[in-house]
């Protein structure tokens, strides 16, 4: 059913359609509206046969999900930013145990300085946690990816994060097609766990494993993600059959056929990028787009195929590997190794910094002219940065960097929410 609705509300409805049995919730902006809506649905009976547990921390949220999933219940939670970091030990544990938990990450920056706005540093920090990570471009895709996520996770017995940009998607009202219960039931079978805590058949889960088998266990986690590379396109095709629309898959290209310059990105910024590319195309620039939906597993082959015919590419990412450069860009470069392609990295939108079309236009032209530095920080205020570096050279007691930045930039109030 088509609806004008908030992204979080739409995702909550999609989750409810997937018939979760245990939902654990701990609030953090910008994830709150999702779990609030689900809590209401459980309480009103709209979502029956579901336990909604208000836990005391994100570490507990993931731990409760570990217990409920191991006892055979379809389990869901959602978090962001500090919340994701607070649960990290349990995040790795869930994947190590092979429990198919689905978690929404309403992507948000990581402090300090504390910042509630969107970038991708939170889920990307869990790159190697063994969780799959799918990135939604729109709220429609966020809805659709969640439905696919349960099926993918349970098929492989591996957990998955569905990542959607905090505020930009979670709090945006737009038209979303919410599927019917019949459609979702036809697509998503009931959870049939591979391992389960059951007095009728007692097993031990999570015991110690020494050097004699640890590598094999870890390799099998990798093997499952390699299987996911096959399964994700398959599930997207099945999805299209049932729901009648394209959603999901590993990667998606836009105006890429004859493109000489390819822009690579993940998440909602792809919308802005496509608008800029449309404008540049009208002016005769051969620019195209590669959107990565599946960040983990990383589709090396599909990325390579999408880029191999261009002359140069620019990875625009909302994340920063401090002391190195790009995070996504490193993976993309791995995908095109040996091709001799010129690759650039642009770090943009950290902590919710707007990514305006004018900045992208300029950036893409420079990429086309190959006049970019290997790593570019989009719209960085170099005056403020240099002033601080000079201050630190002059004054041993130069004070908190974040506060200095705001003074230098002539602003005096910091974010009001946390």
């Amino acid at each position: 059913m088509l609806k004008q609705t908030e992204g979080s509300k739409a995702v909550a409805e999609a989750i409810a359609l997937c018939r979760p049995e245990v939902i654990c919730a701990y609030p953090i902006s910008p994830q709150t509206h999702i779990v609030e809506a689900l809590g209401e649905m459980v309480k009103s009976g709209e979502l029956p046969k579901c336990e909604f547990i208000n836990v005391e921390s994100e570490f507990a949220a993931m731990s409760v999900a570990i217990g409920s999933s191991a006892a055979g219940a379809r389990s869901y939670t959602a978090t962001a930013s500090q919340g994701l970091l607070f649960m990290v030990e349990a995040v790795y544990n869930a994947s190590g145990l092979g429990l198919p938990i689905v978690m929404t990450v309403a992507n948000r920056a990581i402090g300090a300085p504390i910042n509630i706005w969107n970038d991708h540093s939170d889920s990307l920090s869990q790159r190697d946690s063994g969780w799959m990570q799918l990135f939604a471009e729109t709220n429609q895709e966020a809805v659709d990816l969640h439905i696919q996520a349960f099926k993918l996770a349970e098929e492989l017995s591996m957990p998955i994060m569905v990542c959607m940009d905090g505020f930009i998607l979670t709090h945006a009202f737009e038209r979303v097609d919410i599927p019917s219960q019949e459609q979702v039931d036809a697509y998503l079978p009931p959870f049939d766990p591979r391992q389960m805590l059951d007095p009728a058949e007692p097993i031990s889960i999570g015991a110690m494993v020494g050097p004699e088998a640890f590598m094999e266990v870890k390799y099998l986690a990798h093997a499952k993600q390699l299987q996911a590379l096959e399964l994700i396109p398959q599930l997207a095709a099945e999805f299209k059959q049932t729901f009648g629309r394209d959603s999901g898959g590993l990667v998606r290209t836009y105006r890429a056929d004859d493109a000489e310059t390819m822009i690579v990105a993940m998440g909602s910024v792809l919308g802005t990028i496509k608008d800029v590319v449309d404008e540049m195309r009208e002016q005769g620039h051969k620019v195209g787009v590669l959107g990565i939906i599946s960040y983990r597993p990383f589709p090396l082959q599909q990325v390579r195929e999408a880029l191999v015919n261009c002359k140069r590419f620019l990875v625009l990412e909302k994340s920063l590997a401090v002391g190195m450069g790009g995070i996504v860009a490193t993976d993309v470069r791995m995908a095109v190794r040996g091709t001799g392609l010129k690759g650039y990295t642009a770090i943009a939108g950290l902590g919710g910094r707007p990514i305006p079309k004018t900045s992208l236009h300029k950036l893409f032209l420079e990429a086309e002219q190959e006049s970019l530095e290997p790593v570019t920080f989009v719209d960085l205020d170099w005056d403020a940065v240099n002033k601080q570096l000079e201050r630190e050279r002059q004054n041993r007691h130069s004070g908190p960097i974040a506060e200095n930045m705001l003074h230098d930039k002539g602003m005096s109030t910091a974010a009001k929410f946390g």
């Binding site: 049995e21 245990v22 654990c24 046969k49 579901c50 336990e51 547990i53 208000n54 836990v55 005391e56 921390s57 570490f59 507990a60 731990s63 409760v64 999900a65 570990i66 217990g67 409920s68 999933s69 191991a70 006892a71 055979g72 219940a73 389990s75 030990e89 349990a90 544990n93 145990l97 805590l197 059951d198 007095p199 058949e201 007692p202 097993i203 031990s204 889960i205 999570g206 015991a207 110690m208 494993v209 020494g210 088998a213």
Partner: protein, 333 residues
Amino acid sequence: MGFQTVKFYQTGTFTVGNRLLAPDERSVQAGEMRSNSISSGHRACQGCGEALGARYAIDAAMAESNGQLIAANATGCLEVFSTPYPESSWQVPWIHSLFGNAPAVATGIAAALKVKGKHDVRVVAQGGDGGTTDIGFGCLSGMFERNDDVLYICYDNEAYMNTGVQRSSATPPAARTATTMPVGNEPGNVFGQGKNLPEIAMAHGIPYVATATVADLRDLEYKVRKAMKIRGARYIQIFVPCPLGWGTASDATILMARLAKETGTFPVFEAEYGEVTGVLKIRNKLPVEEYLKPQKRFAHLFGKHAHPEMIARLQAIADRNIRKYGLLQDQES
């Protein structure tokens, strides 16, 4: 408490003889139907109080739940000596996730069982004192506050044994551990009172809180069985001497537990909804020295550089317990 009035102790010991009891009054361990939830062949040290306590506790929980039990375990000695794969000692469905999250994992299991309508299957979570009073404290308090249907059992050996006997917040004052060595003016663990988790659990107003020791195994079984009859959050702390960590003889485990109780050092009681409802009386009150002397972790309090003032402070703590809980025979509790 039922076992106070009827005394079937064997001559000269505190041991209750099953032979003297009618078959239906005998302990779970003495029964033919005991579940052997933790089978033999595990790797605990000789005389390990934790292995003994866990065996009695889980078998009693199994008996009370008709074998319908799932256990969640925190990291620690119990987890390590009872596994590694593929040599699990557990005959019950068992999960180990992390050091600090056993209560939350158990909450998740209980939620799954509830939603699936498996009301007859019960959940036990268990961990050492470190996993309980320190790193798992947040999850435990959350589980209590929500009154989730979980029995949490803490095996209290008063230190982080699995990592080599470091101090936990349950380590008693003056005790030597690897991180509270007997050096300086006040040797051993800093003075204080330790974190009193049974009382903190009571402050949550949960239906049942109890303490027990491996010296009174019938009392331990009784408390576990009683806890299993109740729904909601329940907490039992079992005092389990650790020969390796305490520097005691491996055949002195029961004796040490009994001395802890008989000196008032470890009060044995039960409480419902935050109110103490019963205590196990001291039968033969002893000075704390009797309990401290056999333990190498307190050796620096005796001998050439003795610290009688510290022993006096430990005696004062025991005396306060005795007053507070009414542990003497003629005291009201």
